[in-house]
Symmetry: C2
DNA sequence: ATGGTTCTGGTCGAAAAGACAAGAACTATT
DNA sequence: AATAGTTCTTGTCTTTTCGACCAGAACCAT
């Protein structure tokens, strides 16, 4: 049994055989926009348990690295992408039996990326797949372990982050139209926003987006060419809150 | 080394000797209001390392319990308090060397409680102390391990929760005045709010607080007796956002 | 030219935020 | 008892923001 003699936060007078041993892993949920819908990256498991099922990329934490470094390393190893700052830790999962063989506690990270092509480049493409998040959340796609719960939490967190910080610009390219940016909000929230009001709300926030002066080519259906913007400073936690305009009934 | 052959989220074909072993602990930051200021509960370490220093209560996770259960159990063991729903996980910490002896990954929880008397009752009072959070954050009080960082993150999280959910009512008693509730916001945010506007903002939010019809005894300085309220439904994550009124320049 | 589509800017009413004044209900002091 | 000081509550006013909707601008297709 554990020593609870002094009530301190960490074990006292322990030796390595006195506490239950756990494996610690990190899992990374990669979100990205594709075809106007929110997608995420999955990998297929090649061995038991859950052989053949889809899972979130991840792996063991090593003793000589931080959790954040482990997540960054695993992501780089499996996808070839280096995302130093965009990794956000959003939860730890340690239910007994979540891995049928050993005791595993996993720490989950969230990354929002814009370019899908460079993501799958570094890994075996046959084992990696970009799927709509909606298919995962609606259980049209079964995930290994408790990864469904992890994905749900990841999307919830992404919504909050989207509202509080400025990571929405991480979803789009280095230069983007406000319609693309609006699509990110609409896809993650499942709502429809007024284009005019969204524009004002975004532009009014000082330094959020910076106009480049250039314009896009209109789509095949025509339409007025949209102005191109680039991302301003991306706010960290604790920055001012950016509320996105709500939409109400319309007639 | 770890197998990264298939790029799946958890180890494949492993056996218990194939992955680095970690101890997993849970730490609980207990926040409460006392004398109009935000306080937190600390325990004193009786043995090395960090002997004699203050630390957050916590302890080992067991293999047959969830992280949440572990936090709840450790909190009950050390403080005699049972808080089934108010425990919020807010971070995992696993930097190498954060415990000088073994590899420890800790999962941190946040609890906001109202009644201090019942908290310290269940434990050895000599080892437990309620201190102002300000003293910890300003490093007037040294904490063991990386607990200072954990406390800082806890308060940051509490502020967000306060703004997004209705847990502010968890800080105050079962029945409270709006001035007490306002003090919670002012203490955690370090701002001053207009009493009249705060009242409206809180009462307008439907079901947030419920008037009891009774009144308080005025303080020694007199003053009009305040109406007593009790907490309405406490909103969970995903509920409507309650913005607290901002205060601007005054002259 | 004409109609359809998409982005941009303008306006207008409703709602909310914030400042401030005034009243209400108490205690303490003279 | 009258008065002053304190604290909570209510009222009102101005300013800002939100959300809806319309009209124009700039493109495509036929």
């Amino acid at each position: 049994m554990t020593t609870k003699s002094d009530g301190a936060g960490a074990p006292i007078g322990y030796d390595p055989s006195q506490f239950p041993a756990f494996a610690v892993t990190v899992d990374i949920v990669i979100l990205t926009m594709s075809d106007g819908a929110l997608h995420m990256l999955l990998v297929r498991r090649g061995e038991a348990p859950f052989k053949g099922m889809w899972a979130i990329p991840g792996g063991f934490k090593r003793p000589n690295e931080t959790l954040h470094e482990a997540a960054r390393r695993e992501l780089a190893e499996e996808t070839g992408v280096d995302v130093p700052t965009l990794l956000t830790q959003f939860g730890a999962y340690g239910d007994p039996g979540r891995d049928p063989r050993i005791n595993v506690v996993t720490v989950a990270y969230l990354a929002v990326l814009r370019d899908v092509g460079t993501i799958v480049a570094g890994t075996d493409a046959a084992d990696a797949l970009l799927v709509p998040v909606g298919d995962v959340r609606s259980e049209k796609l079964d995930l290994a372990f408790d990864h469904l719960q992890i994905v749900r939490d990841a999307v919830d967190r992404a919504r909050v982050e989207l509202e509080v910080t400025g990571i929405a610009t991480a979803f789009v390219g280095p230069t983007f139209t406000l319609a693309e940016l609006r699509a990110v909000y609409e896809a993650t929230w499942g709502v429809e926003l007024d284009a005019a009001n969204f524009r004002r709300s975004v532009v009014a926030e000082d330094g959020w987006v910076i106009p480049t002066g250039r314009r896009t080519q209109p789509g095949p259906a025509g339409g007025r060419p949209a102005e191109l913007y680039r991302a301003g400073r991306a706010w960290k936690h604790g920055g001012p809150i950016h509320r996105l305009p709500r939409t109400t009934e319309r007639n």
